[in-house]
């Protein structure tokens, strides 16, 4: 895309004034990486809606808000934290972009497994960082990725040893405190699932109520041959926050990667899930976005079938109420040699109000001839006859509509295998139907 605009002066100044004590500043290789990203950012700035990939999402409110870089973590209420942390998990907790060892708990790990924060053991994990950082994100990097690379303050670093299975899921919790209002959380997560390993990751995003901030998170994932990684994302930011989140993954031969993406929070969010598939790998990308009021949710996926025999399945559902806007842009690319590819993409949208909007763009880009590729899209409203059926059984109109909407969404929630997370997602979902007597215990 040749559309260029000058980078926003405020954010450009944040980069040039970058504080010398950013994590890993003792490494020359990292500093030069940051300099390169800063240069990239100064050329492009944040993307504009004139770029094809951003045509439905205008991030000018972020530019106008002039968020600042946080210097330290704010205080977190224990009750709030209790509510965020999931049972039966390892926890890595980041507040305002800084790792909080006292709030985190990682116990009984198999030897050779690393579950830590970048700031915790920079020198200890230098090789790991060096091999993963900036290795999976697309080049040339987008404005937000460059911004992240130049300024990230911390993030999780996870490496699963060969042929090892981690029993408990690993929760990476990002929290914005009250003091974190008007600041930017720049975190970078690096994940390596070595050959034959198996693990489950959960990223969660929460913020102090009605607090306005920006989360700009990049997660880079490498899944080695025969490894199996499940990656879940629950975005329940404050309803006034902005969220830009990207999961960039590379799958080696026969790898399995399942990504589940749940979006409830923030006034404007953009999630990017990219996967590059190796030979005979298997990739699932599922998502649910539920928007109300004036929320804007943009979901972007990109599956690159670079090698033959890989399978990919994508299923995203959106529910838009009030004056909200939901966007889905998916792209499947099948490279010249990727014969016998089997790729599916599906997007279903439910519009609940006259003022809501759904924009969807399912794209296929195919360069190989012996492939199976399909995409399907629907946009519509609730089925009148289904509502009528429920009403004949005594449900009032609102209840009938709620039941059907809930069922539409629940199909995606049921895909989460780990129960504490599923309950947490259901809780978020039920918040959208407060007047109804639906109880979580029934589900």
């Amino acid at each position: 895309m040749s559309v260029t605009q000058l980078p926003n002066a405020h954010y450009a100044s944040l980069i040039t004034a970058k504080n010398a004590d950013l994590v890993g500043c003792e490494f020359d290789w990292l500093n030069s990486l940051r300099v390169k990203a800063a240069e990239g950012f100064s050329e492009t700035g944040f993307p504009s809606p004139r770029e094809e990939e951003w045509r439905y999402t205008n991030i000018s409110p972020i530019e106008k808000s002039q968020f600042n870089l946080p210097t330290k973590a704010g205080a977190i209420d224990t009750r709030f934290l209790q509510n965020v942390l999931l049972d039966d998990c390892h926890h890595l907790v980041f507040v305002d972009g800084f790792y909080q060892p006292t709030l985190s708990s990682v116990i009984d790990l198999t030897e050779g497994v690393v579950v830590s924060a970048i700031s915790e053991g920079v020198s200890e994990h230098e090789d790991l960082l060096k091999s993963l950082l900036d290795s999976v994100v697309e080049t040339p990097a987008l404005g937000f990725i460059n911004f992240n690379t130049a300024l990230f303050t911390d993030g999780a670093v996870i490496s699963i040893e060969e042929n090892t299975q981690i029993e408990k899921p690993i929760q990476i919790a990002f929290i914005s405190s009250k003091e974190g209002a008007l600041s930017i959380i720049n975190c970078r997560n690096l994940v390596l699932a070595k050959a034959g390993s198996k693990a489950t990751l959960i990223e969660t995003y929460h913020g102090a109520e009605d607090s306005c901030y920006l989360s700009n998170i990049v997660t880079e994932v490498v899944v080695e041959p025969n490894a199996n990684l499940s990656h879940n994302r629950l975005q329940a930011e404050s309803l006034k926050a902005y969220h830009i989140g990207g999961v960039y993954s590379r799958l080696d031969n026969n790898a399995i990667f399942n990504q589940y993406n749940y979006n409830f929070g923030s006034v404007l969010s953009r999630s990017e899930v990219h996967a590059e598939l190796g030979e005979a790998s298997d990739c699932t990308l599922d998502g649910l976005y539920i928007a109300e009021d004036r929320q804007h949710m943009d979901n972007h996926t990109r599956v690159n079938h670079a090698q033959p025999h890989a399978v990919s399945n994508e299923f995203y559902k959106g529910i838009m109420n009030d004056r909200s806007k939901g966007v889905f842009q998916g792209r499947i690319i099948v490279a010249l040699d990727a014969q016998k590819t089997d790729a599916k993409m599906n997007n279903r949208n439910l519009l609940l109000s006259d003022r809501a909007e759904a924009d969807t763009k399912p794209q296929l880009e195919i360069y190989a001839d012996d492939v199976k590729c399909a995409h399907g899209v629907t946009v519509g409203q609730l089925d009148d006859s289904a509502i009528f059926y429920l009403r004949t059984r005594g449900a009032d109109e609102e209840m009938a509509k709620n039941m059907l909407t809930f069922a539409f969404a629940n199909e995606m929630v049921e895909r989460v295998k780990f129960k504490p997370l599923r309950i947490k997602i259901l809780e978020e979902l039920l918040k959208r139907f407060p007047q109804q007597g639906m109880k979580i215990e029934w589900l």
Binding site: M1, S2, V3, E52, L336, Q339, N349, L351, L352, S353, D354, R355, A356, E357, A358, D359, T360, K361, P362, Q363, L364, E365, I366, Y367, A368, D369, D370, V371, K372, C373, A374, H375, G376, V377, T378, V379, G380, Q381
Partner: protein
Amino acid sequence: MSASNENLKDMIGQEYKDGFVTDIESESFPPGLNEDVIRALSAKKNEPEFLLKWRLEAYRHWLTMDHPEWSFVKFPKIDFQEISYYSAPKSMEDGPKSLDEVDPELISTYNKLGIPLEEQMRLAGVAVDAVFDSVSVATTFKDKLYEAGVIFCSFSEAVKEHPELIKQYLGTVVSQYDNFYAALNAAVFSDGSFVYIPKGVRCPMELSTYFRINAANTGQFERTLIIADEGSHVSYLEGCTAPMRDENQLHAAVVELVIMKDAEIKYSTVQNWYPGDENGVGGIYNFVTKRAECREENAKVSWTQVETGSAITWKYPSVVLKGDNSVGEFYSVALTNNYQQADTGTKMIHHGKNTSSTIISKGISAGHGQNTYRGLVKMGRKAENARNYTQCDSLLMGDQCGAHTFPYIETKNPSATIEHEASTSKISEDQLFYCMQRGISAEDAVSMIVNGFCKEVFKELPMEFAVEAQALLGISLEGSVG
């Protein structure tokens, strides 16, 4: 050309010996584009003041625009200062003297398409006697149309004869500011067609550019305007199946259709410009803006296109469904072989209640061809109960080609229903084997299967066109099966 420049000047001098000769009467403008060129062009065509003003507005706006980069086609940057924006129609004397002088490859294609000898001469630009039938045919047609009240003439003629209609409708569907190439076209368009069907008239025959005698040299910036007034009906055919050679590489045309209450326009295109040779050298860039506006209720418009030619085809015949209950249809076959590229599809923009649209797109890629379907379906806030059905199928032949699908779906009304289906497949070995086992050669079998794949679109074409289009597909695919 340069060698015969002197002769040409002499000839032009002769032809104009009864008239006056001024500076602007030179046979062609030097390459370059600025306001003076546009003024000279407009003066040369004796255009009224409003049209010149309109052209200049377009040009000034064009200067502020960037070249669009979002498409999926690749080509070297075009230098708009290297193009000559006016050249007089070529004299008949300049062309080949007989069919013997024409490229034999071209002749053999004509024969395969079953084009009569006289037509072959006309197409190849062979100088023929004025007695030649196409002129007389056209005259008979003109009388018949005149009786019905239909206006069908070249754009320049319409500007002179019916300036009030031009003033009323020009640029109301595709404005002079619309997009990069539409603005350029508005600034420098040379000629084109104009059709007006009065209230309640059903056009007695299918209108075709083919029969408009001066259609051959409308140049690279063509502009078509068709108005179907209340309750009228017209079927319009553009282009022809025979391959056309042209030395202008860039073709940026604009087509505007206005459809009033209860009226219907059926617009069929068969495009077979020179696609370049098998190594992708040369070939036409076909960048067209086509848009129809269903202004009032129950209006209907149907685009049918068969795109087999051009090195690059880049166009999206669109429909704005403003009137309630109006209907838009789009049927397309786009074929890319060798190094051809196509980025084509449609836009259906629903504003009225109960509007409906259908999109059937068939893309065929062979050789190194890249074929992209890009379509927009937009349901406005007031488009109650609007419906859309989209089906886009791609057929891949060979492992070096590409087929891409980029649908855009934007909905602001919950009662709108949108269905989108897409599939990508290749010609199966089984199908080929079955045909060959029955004595059909591989090439014929492929052509047969491809024609079956495109049947849904071909059945929308007028009868003779459909037959020719089938033959055309076969020829365009020649050499794509090893």
